[in-house]
C-alpha cells in the first residue's frame, strides 16, 4: 500500500470521515461501491417478497401500511444508488448488474413469502436484523452514506413496529393465526441467523478494516439475539434451535448456521432468486420509457 493510502487508512481507523469530492484509495472505493451497491440492491429486491401481499393484505389499514413500507424501501434504494453514482458507478449499470446476476442482494430476499405470518416475521425480525447493520453504518467512514442512513434507520423503526404489530395481532388471535406465525418463524430463523454473515474476526473483514462497517458480523448477530430472542419468547413462540442459549457471560450460543446455504442463496440459487430477478428484469424493460422521458426532460 502506498503512503497516501496508508495515511488514509490511519485516518478512517481513527474515526475520520471523508466526502464525495475527497481523494479515495482505489481499493477503498471498490470495496465501498461493492458494499453500498449490494445494500441498494437489497432495498430494491427486498420489496418483492412483501409486494406480493399488498393485494392480499387482511385489512385496508394493513394494505396501506405495507404499501408505505414498500415505498420507503424503494426510496432507500434510490438514495443508496445515488451514493454509488457519486462513487463512479452509474445507476443504470447497477441495475444491469443486478438483473444479470453479476451483483448480489441479501439472502433473506431470495425466499418465498408463504403466508401473512411471513409478512409479519419479515417486517419485524428481518427489518430488526437489518437495522442493526444499518445503525452501525451511521458511523461509516464515507460520510455521504452515513448521512442518508439517518433517514433510513428512522423509517426502518416504523417498519419494525408495523411488523411487531402484525405479529401481535396474530398472536392475540386464533390458534390458527398463532400457528401461521410459528411456522413463519421456523422458516425464517435459519436465514435470519445467516443474515449477518460468517463470524469472520472483524480485523480480517476488509469492510471493517476500511471502517465502512463499524462492527463485526458476530457482534451484529449477538446484538440481534440479545435484543430479539426475549421478545420472541415472551409471545410463546418457539425458536427452532435446541442449542440456543444465553451464557452467564451474556454471549449467545447457537447451532452453526448453514454457511453453504448462505453462499448458494446469495449467488442466485435461492428458492425465489430467479423469479424475482426475472420480475425486476421485466419491469426494468417495461418502465424504460419513464426513465427516458424523465431524464430527457
Amino acid at each position: 500500500m502506498d503512503s497516501r493510502s496508508e495515511e488514509f487508512l490511519t485516518y478512517v481507523q481513527g474515526g475520520g470521515q471523508v466526502e464525495a469530492g475527497d481523494w479515495l484509495p482505489d481499493e477503498y472505493r471498490q470495496k465501498l461501491i461493492k458494499f453500498v451497491e449490494m445494500h441498494g440492491n437489497s432495498e430494491l429486491m427486498g420489496v418483492l417478497p412483501e409486494r406480493e401481499w399488498i393485494l392480499k393484505a387482511p385489512t385496508l389499514q394493513r394494505k396501506l401500511a405495507l404499501t408505505a413500507k414498500v415505498q420507503d424501501e424503494v426510496g432507500h434504494s434510490q438514495l443508496i444508488y445515488r451514493v454509488v453514482e457519486d462513487l463512479g458507478k452509474p445507476r443504470e449499470q447497477c441495475l444491469a448488474d443486478l438483473v444479470s446476476g453479476k451483483s448480489k442482494f441479501h439472502n433473506v430476499f431470495h425466499y418465498p413469502t408463504k403466508t401473512w405470518g411471513d409478512v409479519g416475521v419479515i417486517a419485524w425480525l428481518v427489518d430488526a436484523a437489518a437495522i442493526i447493520s444499518q445503525k452501525a453504518l451511521l458511523k461509516c467512514s464515507y460520510a455521504p452514506y452515513a448521512r442518508i442512513m439517518k433517514k433510513i434507520c428512522w423509517e426502518e423503526s416504523f417498519h419494525i413496529l408495523h411488523g411487531r404489530d402484525v405479529v401481535l395481532a396474530m398472536m392475540t388471535g386464533t390458534d390458527a393465526q398463532r400457528e401461521l406465525v410459528q411456522e413463519a418463524l421456523v422458516r425464517w430463523w435459519p436465514p435470519l441467523m445467516q443474515f449477518h454473515g460468517n463470524p469472520i474476526p472483524r480485523d480480517e473483514d476488509p469492510m471493517y478494516v476500511w471502517r465502512i462497517k463499524s462492527q463485526g458480523n458476530e457482534e451484529a448477530r449477538q446484538q440481534f439475539l440479545e435484543g430479539y430472542v426475549p421478545q420472541i419468547l415472551e409471545l410463546g413462540l418457539e425458536i427452532p434451535d435446541p442449542k440456543l442459549r444465553r451464557r452467564d457471560d451474556g454471549v449467545w450460543e447457537y447451532s452453526e448456521p448453514d454457511w453453504e446455504e448462505l453462499r448458494s442463496v446469495v449467488t442466485g440459487h435461492g428458492p425465489r432468486s430467479q423469479d424475482r430477478l426475472e420480475f425486476r428484469r421485466r419491469f426494468l424493460e417495461q418502465e424504460k420509457w419513464v426513465r427516458d422521458a424523465v431524464l430527457a426532460a
Partner: protein
C-alpha cells in the same frame, strides 16, 4: 442534474445536508425531494441546490500561524502565576 438536499428539521434550526437527488429540472427536484424528505412531515423546509452551484471552501492555508486569533494562541498560565506572585495574591 444533481441537486444537493439540505433539510431543516424544525423552524429556527440550521439546514443540514441530507443527501442528493437527480432531476432534470427544479420542478422534478421539488416533487422528488418532497417524497424523499418530507412525506411524513419530518422536515420544516428543504433547500435544493444544484451541485454545480455549490462553491466549497475546504483548503485552509495557515502559513502565517494565525493562532493569535484563537483561544489556543494564548497560554496565560505562567504569566498569571507570575502576576499573582507579584501582587502577593497567590494561593497555596
Amino acid at each position: 442534474m444533481i441537486y444537493e438536499v439540505f433539510r431543516q428539521e424544525r423552524k429556527g434550526q440550521a439546514f443540514a445536508h441530507a443527501g442528493s437527488i437527480v432531476a432534470p429540472d427544479a420542478a422534478f427536484a421539488d416533487a422528488w425531494a418532497r417524497e424523499q424528505y418530507g412525506r411524513r412531515g419530518e422536515s420544516a423546509a428543504l433547500w435544493l441546490v444544484p451541485r454545480a452551484a455549490i462553491h466549497e471552501v475546504s483548503e485552509w492555508a495557515d502559513e502565517f500561524d494565525l493562532k493569535y486569533r484563537r483561544v489556543d494562541g494564548y497560554s496565560i498560565k505562567a504569566r498569571l502565576k507570575e502576576a499573582r506572585e507579584r501582587a502577593g495574591s497567590a494561593t497555596a
